[in-house]
Amino acid sequence: MPEHFDIAIIGAGPGGLGAATNAANHKLSHILFEKAEVGNTIFEYQLRKHVMAEPGKLPLRAHVAFEAGTRESILDSWNEALKSLGVNLKKAEVKSIVKSEEHFEIKFGEESITAKNVILAVGIQGAPRKLGVPGEDLPHVGYTLRDPDAFVDKHILVVGAGDAAIENAVALSEKNIVSILNRTEDFARAKDGNISLIMKAIEAGKIRCFYNSNMDHVEAGKAFINSATEGLVEIPCDQIIARIGAIPPRKFLESCGIVFPNAEITSVPVVSKNYESNIPGLYLVGSLIGYPLIKQGINQGYEVIEHILGNEIEPADQILIDEKLTHLERPVSESLQMISANLPIFKDLSEPQYRELIIDSTVHVVKKGQVIFDRNDYTDTFFNIISGSVFIQLPNDKTIEMEQGTFFGEIGLLSGRRRTATVVASKDGLILETPRKQMLKLIASVDSIKRAIDLKFMSNALATSIFPDVEVHYLADIVTAAKTKFFKKGEVLFREGDPGEQLYVIRKGSVKISRKNKKGIEVTQTYLAAGNYVGEMALIKDEVTPRNATVTAAVACETIVIDKADFRFVIDRNLNTKKRILSLIKEREIENITASQNEKVGTLLDFMLGQGVSDADNVLLIDSDLCVGCDNCEKACAATHGGYTRLDRKGGKSFAAIQIPISCRHCENPLCMVDCPPDALVRRPDGEVIIQDSCIGCGNCVSNCPYGVIQMVYSKPAEPFSLLSLLGLGKKDAAKSKGPAKAGKCDMCSTLPGGPACVRSCPTGAAMRVNPRKMLEIISAKQGRLG
């Protein structure tokens, strides 16, 4: 007969600790399962890493302490709390959870227990993928690397070809004999910066790389590799570090019977206001349900126990909700109800989702005539009209009035581009403004929100791009039939000569257009940014027409695809519309550039597109014909940014006398913003992407940036200017740095009145900051250099 508990908690991370310590405090019969270490995510951090406690205002409700500090101090205090409260900790990996009539049966290893309630707090990191070969469980096979300095003069094999594998291999190669095992023939999955690091190390003979190879088996002190070129190879090996990704916890959750709203990777299961899942008695807390911060996890674990005990308590975040809604001058509960009643788009939200929406959003009290945002502002938030109404003023002098219960701002939200219209309040009222990140999370997990925004976005995109002046109801059919299609960077939308059957409206990202010249060489002609469309000629003619150019995604793209049949069905019924569209298409000029059929100009354009210039708001370029290498740009950057330069002049790539240093491009769709737990990365209305002080130093943005422009930096006081420093005799105390490392990147010197210090400090005028339009001018100026 298996042992029975009131509460089984799975995962000793923040959520699990919050629950377990509260259960122990109430002297409930409980068990806490952990397959690795207590606080494992933090345990895996590098030694002495500083951990932040955000959001500062959220109170901590728990019997376990947590405040910002080093990795060690936090882990110590957690382990101490477990011991002093007598938490029943079981080090074992849970294999399955099965609900029967009266309880849950939890299997781990060969054993099992039963429990009345289960709290799942396993986080989203998932279990590291194992080698899957004999010997994978030997003690010298590891899946993480905390401290590369712990290894000296060892034979080490790193398995994997991603960023983590490369970073580990390179760090270890300083003091050890390192090999890296790559299943494929290159390191294409990794960031550019890491690719060049590993290639340099391999070329210099510091790391031996086995390409197109697989692990055969592992023995003590040895590893056996199936190499594509050399067959079975035996190498001496004291340590294996496998960085081959993780198995997301979704599969495990689904095996327990938990339902996800859709197949999106980022979607999270729906829970009740008490964090109960679709299976009664099974609770989910923490990052599993979209709350990545430590404090939130601890509080939720605590609250679940209180709920199980029947003590209904106010959620810990009530104080944050109160703060958001007090200015409405009515009881907070009433405001909450009114907002949800007036905004049908949010009707399918669960209570925790709705509360989080309100905490992250701002309710604006607007007066008639007040401007909500201006056309060309670089903001990306999403707006809902709780009461009152607004005028959308389009660039063609058309004005549309939008009423209570509708939303606007979805173009900026989805495309990351500047605002396409000015919005002004037409009546007094209340407007809910929600940050992009929160909306993207909701779009990924709530289907009805995704559908509503998609439909509106598509009809707007079609109306402003290919069908201006066409009545909206004609578009409705096309919109419902249209599909969204994603393209990775470098993926081809269609090739020259292919039969043309579809039109693509670029919703996000940009594409490059190339044609074969007389010699048969593919020459890049131009690029098109989001909001434009490609392939329209194919839809106009009756017969199937071959494509006259190849279109490739310059960065990751999202497109709206319209089939010829759907398109023709609509316009053939409306002869006037057809005529109008035909003449429009003839007149239409693509955002034209002077790129001729000159291969070299095409190569230069290609180089710049490859460097993300087309998707950039503002790129630092250096005219190599003028640069004398004085590095005053770097000095200026360091002096104005706490002692650390945010640009690496020598590090960037260069081509035809144009150098693109390693420096932020302020992308239109910044990948750095994608995974920032405290939302510290924001785009200012002028377009700059900046990191706010709320950065917790997690380093996600550093690994997400494809151009390697973000670094972890310590704040260091700028050296004061003095006559001594002029002569190079100033005091040097560079070692004095304070506080934890935070992410640092170019902020376009937005706090300085004169603009970017790098450009202002270039004595020869070689450094310039440009947008994609300027890029084309530079290309034509440099044409002479191309020969």
């Binding site: 004398v628 200026a636 006398a657 603009g755 202002r760 270039c762």
Partner: protein, 272 residues
């Protein structure tokens, strides 16, 4: 698009200003009829002296501006444009200030030092414009450190190839391989090194044992790359040397000129 440089900054704004000023001072000088020969002691001499001294202060201010990274009122490019054209203007103004009277004294020393500082500056400007397009590392050819690393790798690969090879192979290596010690003297004095002519090499390679032929071809490829790298290193060192050298002369001479100018100004108060 034409990239704006320090010379054509704002359509040669500072050139035109200084050219205008030069014409004005020349006309006044021509009209001026002092008692005795024109010299620094006349009212015009004093006036031009004061303008020149202020000009020197502006020139020296550039050293401060270059390091004031928070400055928002001027760009460094603009400041350098003023610096260049003002310096050239002073070259003409100071002789007018002295009425072309020179001698073996501290006053003339101040002028000589100023002229030297200005000429080193002009030389530097010429270097900047002529050498910047030749910096290989700005064009993706790798910086000096990377080039040296690559050279090391190639050299050790060549060494590795010659292990346990026939005498003919070793002879081939001796014939075409070379040792390259990058030194500044070498970079400045030696012209580019030329790789062996393919025709000469072909005869030697075809003479090798059949089993070593492939490696012989490899070897020649490596040696050719080594020549290429050596030349890049020579070129890169040379360019950077001339890009930097002038500044090591310009700054101390300018500081000295300023100091002697101060002595010159103080000394004239003791004249009777």
């Amino acid at each position: 698009m034409r990239q704006e440089t320090i010379l054509n900054y704002k359509n040669f704004l500072w050139l035109w200003i200084h050219l205008g000023a030069l014409i004005v001072v020349l006309i006044i000088y021509a009209l001026h009829d002092p008692i005795g020969a024109p010299n620094g002691g006349t009212w015009l001499g004093y006036s031009y002296g004061i303008i020149a001294a202020l000009g020197m202060c502006v020139l020296m201010w550039f050293g401060i501006r270059k390091r004031s990274f928070f400055s928002s009122k001027t760009t460094l490019k603009g400041a350098l444009a003023v610096h260049v054209w003002l310096g050239i203007f002073l070259l003409f103004l100071v002789p007018l200030h002295s009425g072309f009277s020179f001698g073996a004294n501290v006053h003339t020393l101040a002028y000589i030092l100023m002229v030297l500082a200005i000429f080193t500056g002009i030389w530097g400007a010429i270097n900047y414009f002529s050498l910047a397009p030749e910096v290989g590392s700005h064009r993706g050819k790798g910086n000096l450190k990377e080039l040296l690393q690559q050279l090391d790798i190639i050299s050790s690969s060549i060494d590795a190839l010659t292990i346990q090879k026939s005498k003919k192979f070793i002879d081939l290596t001796r014939m075409f391989d070379f040792t390259f010690q990058p030194t500044l003297k070498r970079a400045l004095c030696q012209s580019m090194m030329s790789a062996p002519v393919p025709r000469d090499v072909a005869a030697f390679v075809s003479d090798l044992n059949p089993s070593e032929k492939d490696e012989g071809v490899n070897l020649i490829g490596l040696i050719n790359r080594k020549y290429e790298l050596a030349n890049l290193i020579i070129e890169e060192t040379r360019v950077h040397f001339w890009l930097k050298l002038w500044l090591y002369l310009h700054v101390p001479i300018a500081v000295a000129a300023f100091a002697v100018m101060v002595i010159h100004i103080i000394s004239i108060f003791y004249y009777r």
